[in-house]
């Protein structure tokens, strides 16, 4: 069912604000994009048609089969609805943010001494988890995309322990229209979370690289 080369395929699990914004950007960047919400593909067909034309609405299982690179963008309080081995061997971009005020008090995520992505990684032990695409609001993400080398291009960081997976995500970031910054291991993804130093603001690659490295130095 998939067309395109494997490297040009992207799967997105979650058809909310972030999921559809990433889908739109990825279609424009030439990816063969499949996206799922909860339940049957029909439920999100109209949303995808209007908000991310060119992407294909599928079920979550089909999205996982479609691509080796998957963006996970469901509400944080719903990721445990997904099976532990759903993403076996896949690169999973954790684009989720934990908001106690909208996700409810979640003890494990609140404490998460090494960041919420390590909790996600523990839930999906067979997945190659990379934290990224979460630290810009969806509107900024949408508006700030620029071709490589364009003046004023801002950056998005990625953090993960699987270095090859991080490399793949850095290429995705660049193709989506941002300079890509390697933030280090998965624990360094804490810098990208709400309350982290880089959250919400648009930084150049140099600024972002500095902020991310500052964050990891114990104070």
């Amino acid at each position: 069912m998939a067309s395109g080369e494997v490297a040009d395929r992207l799967g997105i699990v979650g058809a909310g604000k972030i999921g559809t914004a990433v889908a739109r950007a990825a279609v424009e960047a030439g990816y063969d994009v499949a996206i799922s919400g909860s339940g049957p593909a029909e439920r999100i067909a109209l949303i995808v048609d209007v908000l991310a034309p060119g992407a294909r609405p599928l079920t979550t299982d089909e999205v996982v089969r479609h691509a080796d690179l998957i963006v996970l963008a469901v509400p944080m309080h719903r990721f445990r609805d997904l099976g532990h081995d759903l993403f076996e061997g896949k690169i999973v971009v954790d684009a989720m943010n934990y908001w106690a005020e909208t996700d409810g008090a979640d003890e494990e995520l609140t404490k998460a001494p090494a960041g919420t992505s390590t909790v996600v990684k523990a839930w999906f032990p067979s997945a190659r988890v990379v934290k990224s695409l979460n630290h810009l609001g969806y509107f900024k993400f949408e508006k700030a995309r620029r071709p490589a080398g364009a003046p004023g291009r801002i950056a998005i960081a990625a953090a993960g322990d699987d270095r090859e997976a991080v490399e793949t995500v850095l290429r995705l970031i660049d193709r989506l229209g941002f300079d890509a910054v390697d933030a280090g291991g998965l624990e360094a993804g804490q810098a990208l979370e709400p309350n982290g130093r880089v959250f919400g603001a648009g930084h150049t690659a140099e600024e972002l690289a500095n902020l991310v490295s500052r964050e990891t130095v114990p104070s």
């Binding site: 909310g16 919400g37 109209l46 309080h77 709400p194």
Partner: protein
């Protein structure tokens, strides 16, 4: 949409406020002040006054229907509603009885916005599980619309006891108690509003309003899909009116900063700065400034998104009562008539990047 048909409302969270010496007022005094604000809104020609629902120490809007009933007894014209009813954690039967009664005492002036709520303090408070969020809202909206549209109701669901041939009193005359669905940006919520054939209320509390344009398109397409005619679309945003842009800025800034300092600590948002405040005024979702500035921006956003209703959440945070009264007076007597005037003028050709009120009205604001 003829400009005369557009509804201009005010929204209040009944926030704890200070008096002009900076002394914090008690909650009960704030509630009585809010009643006075609504009475003034009625006198100066504002179309509706709407109260939100929170269970927080800094907001006194936990039982809006009682405040609205009090306002009903002191006004004759203004529509009275909720800026959001957090339907997920309410019993639709109780919502019906309270607001049908409000409709009776106000002689047909009650209205509702049903939302899931962006904050979630009501879930633990009333014993609901946040993971049921979607299901709760869906089920309760289903029951509420049934109660409004086809009594007697026979209904069963997961979260309350079933109803069999149930009539509720007081009965509502045909077309009374309009219910809007409030959404904060979730595409699935937009689809739901269309599926129920209910008008859409966009809560746009930050950033450029143009980012809601795709959701407006989605709503229209979904209405078509479900076989409904075009329905109204409204928007709720924050703002403040004063004699000059500078005065509005200086009055609102410290209180806006106070609220967002709190949000930064609670929600991990970036800390407030004057630059961000100014950016929200210039191209974001604050309708703040002189009469002309605010009217120009409201007229612009009404055209941009094709709105039939604009609700101003007047004054953010602890702005004193006196200044809120002045804002209400100017909004009703000057801003709204000026918006209607601007909308009666033929629209300029939209600029290619017609995304900020300043550029859209560059030619119109010189007089």
């Amino acid at each position: 949409m003829a400009s005369q048909e557009i509804e201009f409302g005010l929204d209040s969270f009944v926030p704890l406020s200070v008096d002009e010496s900076g002394q914090e007022l008690s909650g009960d005094a704030v509630i009585r002040n809010t009643v006075e604000e609504a009475v003034l809104a009625d006198q100066v020609g504002i179309d509706s006054f709407n109260i939100a629902e929170h269970y927080r120490q800094d907001m006194m809007d936990s039982a809006g229907s009682i405040i609205l009933a009090t306002i009903a007894g002191r006004t004759s014209r203004i529509r009275l509603g909720t800026a959001v009813t957090v339907l997920s954690t309410q019993d639709p039967v109780r919502v019906y009885t309270e607001f049908a009664t409000l409709d009776a005492v106000s002689n047909g002036r009650a209205q509702l916005i049903a939302g899931r709520g962006s904050l979630i303090e009501s879930f633990p408070l009333f014993g609901y599980d946040l993971t049921d969020y979607e299901e709760l809202f869906e089920e309760k909206l289903d029951l509420l619309t049934r109660l409004l549209r086809d009594q007697p109701v026979t209904w069963s669901g997961k979260f309350r006891s079933p109803l069999t041939n149930q009539y509720l009193s007081p009965p509502l005359p045909e077309g009374h108690l309009p219910v809007w669905v409030g959404v904060g940006g979730s595409p699935q919520s937009v689809i739901r509003a269309a599926r129920y054939g209910l008008p859409l209320m966009l809560a746009v509390i930050g950033g450029p309003p143009v980012r809601f344009a795709p959701l407006v398109e989605l709503y229209k397409r979904a209405l078509e899909k479900y076989g409904y005619p075009e329905l109204k679309i409204g928007m709720h945003s924050h703002g403040f009116v004063a004699r000059t842009d500078e005065e509005a800025f200086e009055t609102q800034w410290p209180h806006w900063a106070h609220v967002f300092e709190g949000a930064a600590a609670e929600r991990g948002w970036a800390r407030p700065t004057k630059a961000r405040f100014q950016a929200e005024i210039d191209e974001g979702s604050l309708y703040l400034g002189s009469v002309e500035t605010v009217a120009t921006k409201i007229a612009w956003v009404i055209r941009l998104l094709g709105l039939s209703r604009f609700d101003l959440a007047y004054a953010t945070g602890r702005v004193p009562h006196r200044q809120k009264m002045e804002t209400i007076e100017m909004y009703g007597r000057e801003v709204i008539p000026r918006v209607r005037e601007l909308l009666a003028e033929p629209a300029d050709e939209p600029a290619p990047a017609d995304q900020s009120p300043a550029t859209a009205n560059a030619g119109a604001s010189s007089g």
